[in-house]
């Protein structure tokens, strides 16, 4: 059995702002007395570690991590702190090889037994490999890590653990539904072992390739790939080796696979361009189209929907879904696909979806200061987070398989809102010409006494193509800029009618996006150096849309929204296109 783990939530979700009361049952003897959970609490050591690990200045970061180790000597994050320090040293001070070697040695020596030393050796090897540093040392650590594994010991240990858990849970199946799972078979345990071993084979194989030991690398990587083909770095390196050997067809197959995962090493992506060009008349012009076709063929959206039909209660409201996501965020995959499906089920007269990209947990080249400000406004502490008409949906992330479940969860609030009366009348005229986008939004008939009303005007690109680390290639409705005097909307007097004009010079917007990405890259992501594989700062004039939102800034409730597709011919006359004029 290969278990599909869903490792969702991630560090970014550590204090997710979702109230999730977790009342405990009291149906067993000596049950723990509990109170409802609070969602924002963090263990003091976890908080201290998070703060230290997010420091950008490498010296200050290392100092803070060392302090953390002293302050919390019993923390479960001590090893993480050590590996984090090693990673910071390797990426920011690569010439300090003696210091790096000493630190690496200390980390491994800290392991309490063969198993832990093996795991730590693997982490050291991977850190050095990721930074292309001290590869002979990395080879030694990777080999030690591989050799620390023993299948018979693993199977025996896992069986013993299962027996212990079974003893703990015996007799509980009938009470509260806590039952015992079937014991894993030997075959399943061996498969798990082989999966883990394949990771270590892969690390060693990649190091051998970098050291020029191609034959050794090929043997190790072939073995790893045979066990598990879902290893982007392995596919990428096998592709590079095939290219080196002149086997272009094989190289192309491996390299396309690696590229579509978004996690291929940069060298593999360069090899892909070279091999594709070599086999296509010295031109890479058709490569992106080929990747598009392969992506659509290999990764169709698993959520199948039927077109929405108005109910008798259908109002004049355009429902707005705001999605905070990240291209390097694995659990965002489920949410991204769920909202993509929602955009199929509902027309843009029913639902507007806007995607705010964040640098969480990885740098995201579609993020910008406006999307980050919006995230702060909603107090988003993790991605994916999504709202429907301003209200956060109590859900979390999901894998590709989880997209249907997320879709089911967002469908309810969306369809509830579709029947809720619009609380403002909104008319929008928007046009794009040359480098300029102009928007005129008129708001009237506001049914709110709030003194905190705001009109937000958003510039979107309807689709951006970028294969990020989570594998999603097409990113819909990406927010590129937000309007208003401070890029934070316009104040709206309660009950009054008002008009707002917003214009964008697209060259300036693009320059702003580039400046942000350049600066973020120069600063580093949470203290670690990185390079964007691609900066998505260019704006496609033929791919734009505008969304206008009337919102109570205090409660976040959305009164009405409008969506204007700037790629469609404006209706004549009048030149208006608004979400509430259905």
């Amino acid at each position: 059995m290969k278990k599909l783990l869903v490792t969702l939530g991630f560090t970014a979700l550590a204090a997710l702002a979702v109230s999730n009361a977790n009342a405990q049952t009291n149906d067993q003897e000596k049950a723990a007395e509990t109170t409802p959970a609070t969602s924002r609490e963090m263990a003091p050591d976890a908080k201290a570690y998070q703060e230290a690990s997010r420091i950008n200045d490498p010296n200050q970061k290392i100092e803070a991590l060392e302090k953390f180790k002293k302050d919390f000597p019993n923390s479960a994050s001590l090893t993480s702190a050590d590996v984090n320090i090693l990673s910071t040293l390797a990426s920011r001070f690569p010439t300090q090889t003696s210091r790096i070697r000493t630190f690496a040695k200390t980390i491994v020596q800290g392991g309490k037994d063969k198993k832990e030393k093996g795991s730590l050796s693997g982490q050291v090897a991977d850190t050095l490999l990721a930074n292309d540093l001290l590869l002979k040392d990395a080879e030694k650590y990777a080999r030690a890590s591989l050799e620390s594994l023993n299948q018979a010991e693993y199977v025996a240990e896992q069986k013993a653990q299962f027996a212990k858990r079974a003893a703990n849970t015996s007799g509980r199946a009938g009470r509260g539904g806590r039952g015992n799972a079937q014991p894993p078979t030997d075959e399943a345990l061996i498969k798990r072992f082989q999966d883990s071993r394949a990771l270590r084979l892969a690390s060693l194989g990649r190091i051998e390739f970098k050291l020029g030991k191609t034959a050794d690398a090929l043997k190790l990587l072939d073995e790893a790939y045979a066990v598990n083909s879902n290893q982007p770095a392995v596919a990428g390196t096998l592709g590079e080796i095939a290219a080196k050997h002149g086997d272009d067809a094989k190289a192309l197959d491996y390299l396309l696979t690696a590229r579509l995962t978004g996690k291929a090493p940069a060298s593999a992506n360069q090899a892909l361009v070279a091999v594709y060009s070599k086999t296509h008349g010295d031109s890479a012009a058709g490569l992106e189209a080929l990747l598009d076709a392969e992506y659509n063929k290999r990764f169709p959206n698993p959520v199948h929907v039927e077109a929405y039909r108005d109910t008798e209660k259908r109002s004049e409201r355009l429902v707005l879904a705001e999605v905070f996501t990240g291209s390097g965020c694995p659990p965002c995959v489920g949410a991204d696909l769920a909202f993509e499906a929602a955009m199929e089920r509902y027309s843009r007269k029913d639902l507007a979806v806007v995607m705010y990209h964040e640098h969480v947990p990885q740098p995201d080249p579609m993020s910008n200061p406006d999307t980050q400000a919006r995230s702060k406004y909603y107090k988003v502490t993790g991605v994916p987070t999504y709202t429907v008409d301003g209200e956060t949906v109590k859900s979390s992330g999901g894998s590709r398989d989880g997209a249907k479940g997320i879709f089911d969860r967002i469908q309810t609030p969306i369809e509830k809102e579709l029947d809720a009366p619009a609380e403002a009348k909104l008319t929008v005229n928007a046009s794009a010409a040359g480098n300029s986008v102009k928007v005129a939004a008129s708001v009237g008939d506001v049914k709110s006494d709030s003194k905190d009303l705001k009109v937000q005007i958003l510039l979107l690109e309807k689709e951006l193509r970028y294969s990020g680390e989570n594998g999603i290639r097409f990113h819909p409705m990406v927010v590129r800029a937000m309007g208003g005097p401070d890029d934070d909307g316009f104040a709206l007097t309660a009950g009054g009618a008002a008009s707002f004009d917003q214009s964008w010079d697209l060259d300036k917007v693009s320059a702003g996006l580039k400046a942000h990405l350049d600066e973020y890259e120069a600063t580093g992501h949470r203290g670690n150096a990185f390079k964007f594989s691609e900066k998505k700062d260019r704006i496609d004039r033929g791919n734009l849309a505008v969304v206008v939102i009337v919102q109570d800034a205090k409660t976040r409730h959305i009164l009405q929204a409008a969506f204007v597709d700037l790629t469609l011919p404006a209706p004549q006359p009048p030149t208006s296109n608004s979400g509430n004029e259905r």
Binding site: K2, K3, L4, L5, V6, T7, L8, G9, F10, T11, L13, A14, L16, V18, N20, N22, A23, Q24, Q28, K30, A32, E33, T38, S39, M42, A43, D45, A46, Y49, N74, A76, S80, V83, S119, Q158, R165, N168, R178, N180, A181, R192, S196, L199, N228, N230, K263, P331, Q362, V393, K394, S396, G397, G398, S399, D401, G402, R409, T412, P413, N470
Partner: protein, 156 residues
Amino acid sequence: MKRLLCASFAALSLAAGPPNPVTWKIESAPDKPVKAGARFTVKLTAHILEGWHFYSMKPIEDGPIPTRIWLAESQPFQLTGTIGADEPQTLLDETLHKDIELYEGSATFSLPVRVTSGSETGPRKLLVNAQTQSCNNSMCLPPTTVKLEVPVTIGK
């Protein structure tokens, strides 16, 4: 490789609220009064609904939320060492391409605790926070922190 959604996930709805796949039980705590300055061990077991899992205490870079257990502040008790835990299962995570440690079924944690010297005598409640993030094979719930109260009498 992939599993279908399990029934517990399919049953998720906003009206019903998220499921609660984890129930905590105090396995052992001092039966007799404990003197100020003395040490004792509290064992807590988390029982996990079938089809769900949560993660070990070992953090993983950009990975899921690990289990965290800590004592609430401002009480006459302190942790005196590393929290012991059952050996977790180690499995390959297909999304992260990393090994990940998790618990299914149950997990027991041992907390080495000391009564702060000079503490007033009498019945007290040791307050323990336990944070886990539960996932099934398709999705995860937001992490939750449960507050556990362990009755402890501080004696002379």
